[in-house]
Symmetry: C2
């Protein structure tokens, strides 16, 4: 039903081309990416909720809200074009327009996106030359280059594609993303670009993307910071000839596949979290409301004390229940059970049943889960986080300079 | 009008005795403290808002709420007696009762307080022996020993006293506190014990303490975590014979003095923050509401990205405005000015006016301020935070084991 494609990427989907290259914004690494569709696409997007929004966010958000057909997404790394005022806005529009003219499409058919240092103007001449070059370099095997060009402090390439068998025929979803610091929901907190050859009208595409982002990208956190620049974009070109209709079996299959690839992408961001050495799943079961469950999960996932304890493989369940307690969510700690993977750690009434040796074995893995059973209601949630290591500090104390 | 006393402490106030010693809860360091008043005191207190409340919190909170007269405060470090269920509650009551009997007072005249590891039962025999010893060691020069005995991961003793000249005569306030991790308001987030010889009735004392805590202890943050155990207690024995009445000039003078000593105590906690190398004042001016101002200050003060940038003396104002933007507070980043000390950094419209050399000079000091002028209204707030260093991780990854 669902099959991940080896070395899958945005160009694993028919009708999409891409490229990625070094234009000169960064010293040496690739810094400019372009995703291009042979035909006009429907496009859905979610954008950062930070009050401080970078120029490309404002421009791309407006285009998605107008439900325009899209032909391309131009992304640069190394410079966020955020907090750059009127000039930054003009620059983003100029780049959008120039890229559109080179592709022979309308400016409003090009989404723009930036990531990198805040508060510096884009090097326009460098970028124009980069656009000259990249619009001539598009290829149907260019997805990986694009995936590389959107990275900043990331250590790993993040690129996926999944095939979904529908009731009749199959479609593909491809995606690339970046992010390793400033990772925290609401929303967006990183860049992710997805392509599909399914035929889905814009409002339905937006609905599907929102549902999926709320279960995946919005439930990961590295450090509780929400960036000024982040977005998730999903382009649907309809090339498969298979149309997804609301409340159909295919709708559910598509959503399930979209969830799968978005979950992999979201987890890949956590695994590559700045200084992260462990991927930790936080599961909250039987909360009164989803909001209570999310509030507790988020509080645990963001607690520096919890995250440093994970780093030291310290079975410090006290910090976990304390992080839950300070979250403001409605629950009774006296009714709560805590598990590491399947190992009971603390049961209702603060009954400590932990087997320290087994707990230590679990916490020394690079991938485990912490679950809390609140025994209050029927709502559950799953979040992902990483540990907090000395490298996190090293990376962030010295990032800009 | 206000004069800090050199080597001031809780026993700098007439009528108070104290002691601190090693009972055996910790391996070597002092771990048991007792503050004792020769006469019954009025007592005010504020307590952690964490849903997970340690046994001594529940017991002491009830006593304060009943407005009981108080004779003593017994504090142990090394064991938090939190998440210890019914047995933990019984243990705390037993200790309170035993201490009271040794002092010849009623159990309800003794406040209890614990700090340390969560989830372990108190070593009762060790503590009883400690109480035997400490009740016989009380002295009017014992404040510093008590200050030492309440510490956990703290590196420095935190002890102060201030003399306040009133319209006629003078009174003294003394205080000791502890805290270096899990520091974050709402409320309490550390232990602080204050004594005064002013004569103040209980409801007024509670009002004064609340006002002061809200401007000082509740505006500091090391890591955004709120502990299960923390409390601030203020004892007033009336020995000076000077009575403080509501809406008097002396009321204002007392409050001002209380604010001064609480601010020093709060800042001493930040300076001793786990791994901290810098004390940073966060000032938000001209917000629409106090709540907006506090929300923004808290978001900046807790942002790991901001705190690591401070650690690296990186003038990364982009992270500051971004942390403000993600806070959810109502303001317009386009109207905001940012200053480091008096140096303008970013002015309205994202106008970057930073002098990088001067900024670097400021950020390399161990004490500086960040202020945001929101140009929205007339509300202001001041918070204190520290930087985030590699040592924070080291300390917290290995604390329990």
């Amino acid at each position: 039903m669902f099959q991940f494609i080896k070395n899958g990427t945005v160009t694993s989907v028919q009708g999409f081309k891409a490229a990625g290259l070094h234009s000169g914004i960064k010293k040496r690494k690739k810094d400019l990416a372009l995703i291009y569709s042979e035909v006009p696409c429907n496009a859905a997007g979610t954008f950062t909720l930070n009050k401080v929004k970078a120029a490309p966010i404002l421009i791309s958000k407006r285009i998605i809200e107008k439900k325009n057909k899209i032909r391309a997404v131009l992304v640069n790394s190394g410079n966020a074009n955020a907090c750059t005022g009127e000039q930054g806005h003009k620059d983003a529009l100029a780049i959008q327009k120039y890229c559109a003219s080179k592709l022979g499409v309308k400016p409003d058919e090009v989404l723009v996106s930036s990531t990198g240092v805040i508060g510096q103007l884009l090097p326009m001449e460098v970028m124009m030359k980069g656009i000259d070059k990249i619009t001539g370099s598009l290829s149907s095997s260019g997805g990986m280059d694009a995936a590389e060009a959107i990275l900043t402090t990331d250590l790993r390439l993040k690129s996926y594609a999944i095939k979904i068998k529908l009731t009749k025929g199959e479609i593909t979803i491809g995606g690339i993303c970046k992010g390793s610091g400033m990772i925290m929901p609401n929303m967006a907190t990183m860049l992710a670009f997805l392509t599909t050859d399914a035929d889905i009208d814009q409002p339905l595409l937006q609905e599907l993307l929102l549902k999926s982002v709320n279960k995946t990208f919005n439930k990961i956190t590295v450090d509780g910071d929400t960036s000024t620049n982040d977005m998730v974009i999903l382009l649907a070109n309809g090339k498969s000839g298979i149309s997804i209709q609301k409340e159909s079996k295919n709708y559910n299959l598509f959503l399930e596949g979209l969830n799968k690839i978005c979950e992999e992408m979201a987890k890949s961001i956590i695994v590559d979290g700045e200084g992260a050495t462990k991927l930790i799943k936080i599961i909250i079961n039987n909360a009164k409301t989803i909001s209570d469950a999310d509030t507790i999960a988020k509080s645990i996932a963001n607690s520096p004390l919890v995250k440093t304890a994970f780093n030291g493989a310290d079975a410090n369940w006290g910090r976990i229940i304390s992080a839950a307690g300070k979250s403001g969510a409605d629950f009774n700690p006296l009714k709560t059970n805590i598990y590491f993977d399947d190992l009971p750690v603390m049961l209702a009434g603060y009954k400590i049943v932990i087997d320290e040796e087994k707990a230590s074995e679990i916490l020394n893995k690079d991938n485990f889960s912490i679950s809390l059973d609140l025994n209050e209601g029927e709502c559950s949630t799953t979040w992902w986080t990483c540990d907090f290591s000395q490298d996190y500090i090293k990376i962030n104390a010295n990032y800009r300079t």
